[in-house]
Symmetry: D2
């Protein structure tokens, strides 16, 4: 019954666990000598939208995020249990893109550490004592080695936590910002850099050839603060908010139906294999992807087992084996540099998860020892689609 | 705010309501002069399975139905709130097929009425004072005008209702048999006959040309005891059990994943437009389709508004606009005649719902006034598939 | 495993089932020769309130009932799945009291039958072709033999069913009117009269001496349309609305806490023994009691087993054995006669359920064979309080 | 809208928030110069039980904890999402008592730090390289300054996480160990010592005279790893396990009812004011109290606002204002010293929360500005009971 920590162990659930994630890269970003900042948690995302009123309708009227501040150029939103100023900033702009992936660090000194860390990496770095957005003080923003606009701050205004304000809650109440998800061409390279930044890998999808398709990594003791998804990048795959219960997520779907906006539902609801969380993917009016997520597990122990999924396991991305729509694999949001220009997107050269699982040469199994019995309804649209 | 009962009214939810369902047939089954039996409710289905042990594992070990009686040839199962002997009979046989759609009537005399009703229709009728299966007394079985094996009975053994036995309940506990669903080529013809049998239509899917694709009809005051789905028939589309809450349905999916049987999930979970119920479709080891269903609405008033859905409304079958897999439209179970031989399947000649909504010439809309903006992920696999 | 219908059977859940409820009265109300009306279901309650604005805040702002019509003297409210004009009428008045317990009958002719039925009983009867309230046509109101203002109608305006309008739903959405509960001194006498009116008993609480403390009776196939609770009467004990799920009921509690109105929660939430439903009791600003209720069971078969609870079974009113607060037993609303004057309240002379279970001479058990082991926290506040 | 961190701020929910908890003691335990160990989280409790078979039935058959190991003297149990060897150890013994409150530390070196920390405090300390129980290696146990048997360890066997094994889950599945709760006479003294040990206060209950009735403190970023409840001590108030959703907790109540063990339910279910979590308190066969708990909030930021509740706020312990039963305030489990002898219980001399809120001179309010309008059913059983 006891698991040998020194080995890679096949669990009764069909995935492997081990102490170390199989993340090896022959193209590493150099590890800085500077100490990494102590990142507390994912704090907020800044997204640029092309129609602020339409975005407000989506995030406030439909999803029920709470407005901390708004004017005709930007809207600051937070989830019900948040006590810092915001978890999402919407900014009016010319194109749809992401302005910042922002993390809170443990102390003011950690902002200095972040600055030094990225300077040593040769990244473009900008420090603003008064912050880049409202409600937040001394901050540093960088164009990180993968091309993403990362921000680190400690100083922030406090606002009232609305956790007890059930009179303001809606059936699909969002209670926390949970994580980001980033698209990048070379997942092991990205994961190694994130480990240098102090993140720990909790789960990953790979194959027997050693190709890594995606990796999840955390600072707070949940499955992730961010994940790296293999694909053309740098792009933002999604930003995720948590609800308390699964019915809250279903309520969001029901409400979108009632508003005749069901076409905002891209994928799900379903149960993830990776993370064991219940999920839903939406697309906002600009196509930015938002996940609604609940009930992953504690990962805070230093020897937390790393979960490895076989890319051909048909339950890895949906525990119920429901197909992933192609758009979920291929579409993502541009990210901005520190001048507000879109970063150039570089193509992935490794194998594509979509191709190896649903393409003409791809395959997926429900049971590891028996890959031939998947019924047509599970073989899915992709093999069909692939033949177009 | 008041609705004019004499008109067909477009609701704010996108469907129409009216007092009478638009079910007109130029090929009616004659209405008998004999009085129809007073049908109480859907009572049980008898299905023939090719591997009784495999079926037992599915219905008992996975779905948790409670065994009233079993031997090596048949298994009698009931849901947690049932007090009559069974809701499902599994019989070992050579082919997968349905032996009986059984209804309970209000009194012993109603069995006589059923016998007379079908004799007048010229149907093959068999009466057995000791019943066709265990636990049930005086019964009549018929090959109805549509080719389905229908049964009517009043006399039945009582067993303990396990509603309060929470120590025996599983996370996905099934509490009631809810309805049948039948595939038949000519829906208006079938619906008119069912009206003669005393059923009332609650909802239907049709188009502006007058083609009816499906109709739901009830005796008990829920959305249905059975539905008629247009297609090659007579075949059994599904049998449905109810849970109390939506999380019970999600728990069934989670358990199937844990058992590495996720390929039993054919469609869903989701929210129906028709019926407003939360649903999931499974396939048993023989391919018989089982729906898990919860939370439709009261329909027991004689002037209950009939709901009409446009076949092109993409939220009619799934309120969230998630695509219906093709197998759900095309696959169904054979039904047996009173000798236990499969009934011949007749092809539908009316328009196919699948073709008009997802074929090359088909279309579906999210918003009635705006059918061009459905994103690719909602246009679905079918248009792709159609081009193969 | 089969239950002998001719016997009274002790179930594994601790209560008995039988075909006939043990309701015997030596003081019966004469059975009319006139045929009883065919009552469909509980339709609405009219309550008089002393501060219409305060009541509106409670029923609309807190509980989220939907307004069909309102002016400065009355408010018409309905639940989310209702298609008739209203389920609750609030009328401004000088005292808090109930103006009508209103049932819908199956046809216009059933209103005539109701009129004849009560005239034969010698009751005061008033017929109004244009109805007593908005939205409802031809109606008859009576002062029934127990002193309650009963109404029967068929003709009613239709309004839009808001079942699919999830954009309007709140976390504690009320979806149906479920039942009334009436306080009357002599339960068997009341139950016998209700049987004459066509109601069927589904459950009851009694003791080995034959005293009946309460009885539940139904027309629609749920546990009840109304119940008779033994006590000083005629008074209205509560009116009950249904939610879909248990979390909806918890959400109402959470919201009341957030509004600092938790003192509106009188009892619960909890699981009933009787009915097996999940429940909560609130008190409106005038003290009218409202139950929120979900998930009882199908009772529509003519041979539905009657459930008999021992009054000393501590799980009969709360399956979890949590104590019933004294106010729940003793407090109730006055009812009005057809002139709008309060009916005189007559004292119960039979044993009091509160006294026999929690008074100095009362006792309750968790396990029938072992009544001494109930811990202090379950013996209840009353015995304990005495010793402070 | 922004909260001034330098002030104590009254929130719209009725409690205050501030940066520092008002914990002042004039009788402090000296702060050691030795560095505190880095405590990761609450890991397991060891309890002594007088009938191991009865305890097994409660924790395994009823609550569904998973057995890692068992023999005729002890049983090792874990929750569904745990990957370390156990969260609960049951040991057969002569009296009911608690053998250890065990915390996991971040590294092997932290065990050394714990040893030094308590040695400097003059506590009795015992170090065992092979652990005190199965599955755990190098550990230190101490009799801490408050008299509690605390344990610290890093080395532990790994077992399979059953998070994905939904086939093994029951309706009331326990997924994590959440926290301990300890009874101690002097809460500020205890809280100060725990701060020295590296714990942070998240919430507290106090009054305007400065009396502190209880304090919650955490290492992991939830509301607590342990709490200090004012009363005669050292005693163990409860150990708490988490479920995913609220219905899981209701299912435990339903199951206890079905087993005719509802007298194991002491208090709840309900919503806490403190922590905002949904809760239930059970008593095991020896009277050890177990809480089932779900959905508190993130507290991991260093400037997480401390929540202060007025002891007279009737929603502090139950957000719905439901009364706390006296046994919950007065009863608790003995704790053992390192020889397995019960620690002597010292009486609390500060004000009693029960007395100031529900005694003859006590009072509680629903609305801070209006304490006279609490209805009888909320004034509580105690005052009422007195008058019987």
């Amino acid at each position: 019954m006891t698991i040998d920590k020194n080995k890679r162990t096949l669990t009764s659930s069909g995935f492997h666990v081990s102490q170390d994630a199989p993340v090896n890269t022959d193209n590493p970003i150099p590890t800085p000598e500077a100490e990494a900042p102590d990142v507390l948690r994912v704090a907020y995302m800044e997204i640029q939208v092309t129609d602020l009123a339409a975005s407000r309708e989506f995030y406030v009227d439909v999803l029920g995020l709470h407005v901390t501040h708004e004017d005709d150029q930007e809207i600051y939103l937070r989830s019900a249990e948040e006590f810092i100023h915001h978890n999402l900033v919407l900014k009016q702009g010319d194109i749809a893109a992401v302005g910042a992936f922002s993390y809170r660090v443990r102390s003011p000194e950690d902002v200095d550490k972040a600055e030094a860390f990225y300077k040593e990496l040769g990244c473009r770095v900008e420090r603003r004592k008064d912050g880049f957005v409202r409600g937040i003080g001394d901050s540093v923003r960088v164009e990180d080695p993968l091309g993403f606009p990362y921000e680190f701050f400690y100083d922030v205004d406090h606002v009232e936590r609305l956790a007890w304000r059930y009179d303001l809650h809606i059936p699909g109440e969002l209670v926390r910002l949970d994580h980001f998800n980033q698209v990048t061409p070379d997942v092991p390279r990205a994961a190694r850099y994130m480990q240098d930044l102090g993140f720990r890998i909790t789960e990953e999808i790979s194959d027997s050839d050693g190709t890594v398709y995606a990796a999840w990594m955390r600072r707070k003791p949940t499955v992730h603060d961010t994940a790296m998804t293999g694909g053309n990048g740098p792009r933002m795959h999604h930003v995720a908010f948590a609800t308390h219960e699964k019915h809250n997520i279903l309520a969001i779907c029901d409400k979108l139906g009632a508003l005749r906006r069901s076409d905002a539902i891209e994928r799900g609801p379903g149960r993830h294999g990776v993370s064991n969380a219940f999920y839903l993917y939406l697309r906002d009016p600009d196509g930015h992807r938002v996940e609604i997520y609940t009930q992953d597990y504690w990962t805070g122990d230093p020897d937390n087992p790393v979960v490895s999924w076989d890319v051909h396991d048909n339950q890895r991305r949906d525990w119920w084996g429901n197909p992933v729509v192609p758009s979920w694999y291929t579409e993502a949001s541009l990210v901005l540099d520190l001048d507000g220009k879109p970063q150039e997107v570089v193509e992935r050269t490794d194998e594509s998860e979509m191709e190896v699982t649903i393409g003409a040469d791809g395959f997926s199994y429900t049971r590891a020892d028996d890959d031939k019995d998947m019924p047509d309804w599970k073989k899915g649209e992709f093999k069909l689609g692939n033949q177009l």
